[in-house]
Symmetry: C2
Subunit: 185 residues, 2 copies
DNA sequence: AATTAGATAGACCGATTGATCTACTGTCAA
DNA sequence: TTGACAGTAGATCAATCGGTCTATCTAATT
């Protein structure tokens, strides 16, 4: 039989799911209930709700998913970048799609002192490095600026898909990503 | 001496400011205090907090601001579209910038029944029509698809600027907007 | 002058929030 | 056997939430 994970993992799993489907405003009680964990364990492991939310973002592995999608697309930088937008089209078409978890956290948590903000920034910086590396391999004359453009496109797709469900923004963005790639020599 | 606006206007002004600076999670009490209005007036005029929030979005005049920026740029559709991104660069560079109020509302308010969602959608649709009209005048072969691209860029700029303050995403997006315009015959 | 509608002030409500606390249980190692 | 420790269960806390209520005041209408 499968041993179920410890309280810490169960808390992270429950929080990851509920803070996405219901937003970070979800109550601690709901998380505790779904995790089937004692109240005290939460404060023992994460210090409080804020710490739990931050750890959810930190341990989310969002960057790994981007890497995986690109790796499955092969070696060609161009194909690897475009594969990201194909994947975005699939993600944003799912009924359970509720936007980018990082952007949502950033916009929802107004308090600048919230530990989640640092995690959001770290994620975006990591994604920027990821994209810049691809553009460098592709011979792009300004990989940093190009990565900025790709990030705008990615964030734009994830933000826009929430408000206009039928728009398929990833397809629109994919064509612009090709324009970014076309800047290479 | 200037007669101060009625309770309804004061409520809208206070709510517009506070829901932006502190998010829609801001308490009713804070809005009432800043508006210097009796509690009852809020429920008399708007039925509740949800109604007030929705009316803030509806009466925000965000579309008018886009129109004004484009009108100030003259008649040429190309200049009018690019002026939008110049303006976005200015807006996102302000210290008080806290993201797109509509996107934030959409991501924060999880309840699908919240009346704000309809206002968000109406705004984005209006913006889409605005951009499509410019592309049509510019001779774009597919104004609707082109407007989709411009909206992704706009949403991307507003979303990305929140998480990476120094990135100047509007400048990156402006170059891509030129690519959209270049599709015209 | 009488009536009426809108606004104000503020008490009050039940529900929920995040967090702390005590008491108890099970496990493993010394 | 003892002790340490992590986890559980649940009472409890103060604060805050959105919303309803009564009572009073004011200004325009009739």
């Amino acid at each position: 039989m499968t041993t179920r994970p410890g309280p810490r993992e169960r808390l992270l799993d429950a929080a990851r799911e509920l803070t996405y489907s219901q937003g970070v405003q979800v109550g601690v009680d709901a998380i505790l209930k779904q995790a089937d964990v004692a109240r005290r364990s939460l404060y023992q492991h994460f210090g409080g709700k804020d710490g739990l939310v931050a750890e959810v973002l930190r341990s989310d592995g969002g960057l790994d998913r981007y890497r995986q999608v690109m790796n499955e697309a092969g070696d060609d930088p161009r194909e690897r970048v475009l594969a990201v937008f194909d994947e975005l089209d699939a993600i944003t078409s799912q009924p359970a799609f509720r936007g980018c978890r990082y952007t949502a956290a950033e916009l929802t948590l107004t308090d600048p002192a919230h530990p989640a903000h640092a995690e959001v920034r770290a994620f975006k910086e990591g994604l920027h490095r990821l994209m810049a590396a691809e553009l460098t391999r592709h011979g792009h004359p300004a990989p940093d600026a190009g990565a900025d453009q790709l990030l705008v496109l990615i964030d734009g797709v994830l933000a826009h898909a929430v408000t206009r469900p039928g728009a398929r923004p990833a397809l629109a963005a994919r064509a612009l990503a090709e324009a970014v790639l076309a800047a290479s020599k």
